[in-house]
């Protein structure tokens, strides 16, 4: 590994400063909402946070001048470090709101938001200010669409720097130019935001909610649903609305969020056949159906619900929410832990662990890798049954056709194994603290897969170390592990060899 120099660090912190400045400016949106809602205490909380965040961003961005291009490993470090610092600074207004027992708890929710997880330690959510509630959902939108991508889309001048930062966030390029790709993602997201907010807002209006509340809550729910985050404006999650239409609309948000943006780009460009041919959509269809059968069968066996209609409605919603990595719930966590039985929970754990598509807002292993591993197994079986002299190849279709290579399989297997390792690590820590196996595994997969469902382990009284483990799991899981590992290795290497 190359020895990092002071110049390299200046380059890294300069770019991280840009991300922080943008984050600070984003705080002005909830600040304006607070002014409109006359929540003066919250206005001050956001003003303090914005001044500090923009100030630190200024110092880093303008104080440390960037010299030279950003390399591949610097790109990874910039992304991982940006996310970590974004967590620290996004947590400032949350902590100032007085709804958190400690700054660590505020950081937990902040990372949960940015990483689009949805696990929460907030106290008394039902009395939270509008501005603060909006901030919780906005950080999900920023994290889900990739705050680094936003910087690339509108602030990064050099395409080389942009490419390194873009891939560091675990994204694939939709267009030949990553800046164009980033702009496409943001344009589509803003259009979806407008359409989603209006449609759900009208639905809530017809469901008996007051107009202002309807559109406020619909914008929050869209940001959390489309970005597969899972925060909700009320403590009861989606249970609060007691509405089938709301459930159907939020399912549509979650499905949009879990599909690959590259596939959506093809559909937008009038090539809908891509949906049918793509390896990811095929894999996803299979895994969703398989895990749904498992969940529904598990619920039927234990008789969790009196009718099949209720079993299907509750089971399917939780399954799609878990598989997409959202975490919206139409049942209580405690109820799920006590009444759903081991088979249904096992099905949900598998679904959460697999996740949605690559280049989407979902976390976890992702359908592309699962598809590649399946294809590889098929190839190996074919090879075993063919004559020794035969050349057996396997082709996959993802936007275009290509032959499966050892490199592709290796990368897919490595990331899959890293995720499984991360899931096991979190589960092990949970077990050491005395939580049951199913509960520990469920919570760990939920955190590392950026899902946000809980059976009750995530609570403000849980051990501090377990909170830190879940924060790391959310962070690493969102960035597909590699960027976080690279960041630690980079700084370790810098310190070990001494400054130059």
């Amino acid at each position: 590994m190359l020895k990092p120099t002071r110049k390299d660090l200046r380059n890294i912190f300069h770019n991280v400063g840009g991300v922080l400045m943008l984050l600070g400016l984003c705080m002005l949106v909830p600040l304006i909402i607070s002014v409109v809602a006359k929540e003066w205490g919250t206005v001050i909380d956001f003003a303090i946070s914005a001044f500090v965040t923009v100030g630190v961003g200024n110092l880093l961005y303008f104080g440390l001048r960037s010299r030279g291009r950003v390399t591949w490993n610097q790109g990874l470090v910039i992304v991982a470090l940006s996310w970590f610092l974004a967590m620290l600074f996004s947590a400032i207004p949350l902590y100032l709101s007085g709804h958190f027992a400690s700054y660590l708890d505020a950081c937990f929710d902040s990372m949960s938001g940015l990483a689009t997880t949805g696990l929460a330690l907030i106290h008394d959510l039902d009395h939270l200010a509008y501005g603060m509630n909006f901030w919780r959902h906005l950080i999900m939108f920023l994290g889900g669409q990739g705050i680094v991508i936003l910087v690339i889309a509108y602030f990064v001048a050099g395409s080389s720097t942009a490419t390194q930062m873009y891939t560091g966030e675990g994204r694939e390029s939709i267009m030949p130019n990553v800046i164009e790709s980033s702009r496409f993602i943001w344009k589509v997201s803003v259009i979806y935001l407008a359409v989603g907010t209006i449609s759900l807002g009208l639905c809530l209006l017809f469901q008996g909610m007051a107009p202002v509340r309807s559109f406020f809550q619909s914008s929050c729910l869209f940001m959390a649903g489309f970005d597969t985050g899972g925060f909700t404006p009320q403590a009861l999650s989606i249970i609060y609305y007691h509405s089938m239409p709301v459930e159907l609309i939020t399912i549509a948000f979650m499905l949009l969020g879990m599909f690959n943006f590259a596939v959506q780009y093809e559909v937008w460009n009038r090539r809908p056949r891509e949906l049918v041919r793509n390896i990811e959509t095929r894999t996803l269809t299979f895994t969703v159906l398989a895990t749904m059968v498992l969940v529904i069968a598990g619920l039927c066996i234990v008789g969790a619900f009196g009718s099949f209609e209720a079993t299907l409605r509750r089971g399917a919603y939780q399954l799609i929410s878990g598989h997409s990595g959202t975490g919206f719930m139409t049942v209580y966590g405690t109820q799920m832990g006590m009444r759903w039985g081991e088979i249904a929970l096992f099905g949900l754990i598998i679904a959460m662990g697999l996740g949605g598509c690559a280049c989407s807002t979902s976390g976890a292993i992702k359908a592309f890798r699962v598809g590649v591993v399946f294809k590889w197994l098929k190839l190996k079986i074919k090879q075993a049954l063919s004559p020794a002299s035969a050349v057996v190849i396997e082709r996959i279709h993802h936007v275009k056709d290509f032959t499966m290579t050892e490199g592709l399989v290796g990368a897919a297997l490595l990331t899959t194994l890293l995720y499984i390792g991360l899931y096991l690590l979190g589960a092990l820590v949970g077990l050491f603290y005395g939580y049951g196996f199913t509960a520990s595994a469920f919570e760990s997969v939920s955190a590392a897969g950026n899902v946000g469902m809980t059976t009750g382990v995530t609570h403000y009284t849980m051990p501090v170390f377990l909170k830190i483990v879940y924060i790391v799991e959310m962070w690493a899981g969102r960035l597909e592990i590699l960027a976080v590992v690279a960041m630690f290795a980079y700084f370790f290497n810098f310190l070990r060899r001494g400054r130059r």
């Binding site: 709804h99 008394d124 009395h127 200010a129 509750r314 609570h459």
Partner: protein, 196 residues
């Protein structure tokens, strides 16, 4: 006279019966949301009484309306008024006649403590009418304590922190101003050289 006294006593007794909480009359069991979640089998289909704060919205749907009743710590002591942090909210949806829901004057939100109510109804751990919902099919609602506004105005130290943060922001602009000054100097020098 004896008859009048007897009638008066009877009237007082009847009035007392209506002022005594329903629990004392033995109609339904007073429960908490935690009890319903943990011992749902015991209470499923039984008449229960839940006391708590009405939060969020009243969502009227025809002859009935949905409300949410929280019975957590914050339903009795507002967090912003020296309340203690005691975890997440604990609430349940109540489906009750719109006429009953119309009694609600104030809802619990930021800066507001909602009406503290007593709800009587049948608890359903798997409400078939609402696709397997976990709720109370409310029959009546009594306001025990009217809601009120909560003081959320900023503390003195927050203004001080705001001033300090603003000062920090201005200080952080120094590198930009320095760079601008340097660029201006260079431009002037270049201009002067060109003029020479």
């Amino acid at each position: 006279m004896k008859k009048i006294i007897l009638l008066l006593m009877l009237a007082v007794a009847v009035m007392a019966l209506f002022t005594v909480p329903a629990t004392a009359r033995g109609e339904g069991t007073e429960v908490t949301v935690s009890q319903l979640l943990e011992d749902w089998e015991e209470y499923d289909g039984r008449e229960v009484i839940l006391c708590g704060e009405v939060v969020g919205d009243v969502m009227a749907r025809g002859e009935y309306a949905w409300i949410t009743v929280n019975d957590d710590t914050y339903s009795r002591q507002a967090l912003h008024e020296e309340g203690t942090l005691d975890g997440q909210n604990s609430g349940i949806g109540v489906w009750l006649p719109t006429g009953e829901a119309e009694k609600i004057g104030r809802l619990g939100r930021y800066g507001s403590m909602g009406d503290f109510v007593e709800v009587r109804g049948i608890f359903r751990a798997d409400d078939e009418q609402h696709g397997g919902d976990f709720d109370i099919q409310g029959q009546s609602l009594t306001i025990l304590e009217k809601g009120r506004s909560v003081d959320t105005s900023p503390d003195g130290w927050e203004y001080f922190a705001l001033g300090a943060a603003l000062l920090f922001l201005l200080v952080s602009l120094t590198p930009i101003l320095k760079r601008r000054a340097l660029e201006m100097q260079r431009a002037k020098a270049l201009l002067a050289r060109e003029e020479d």
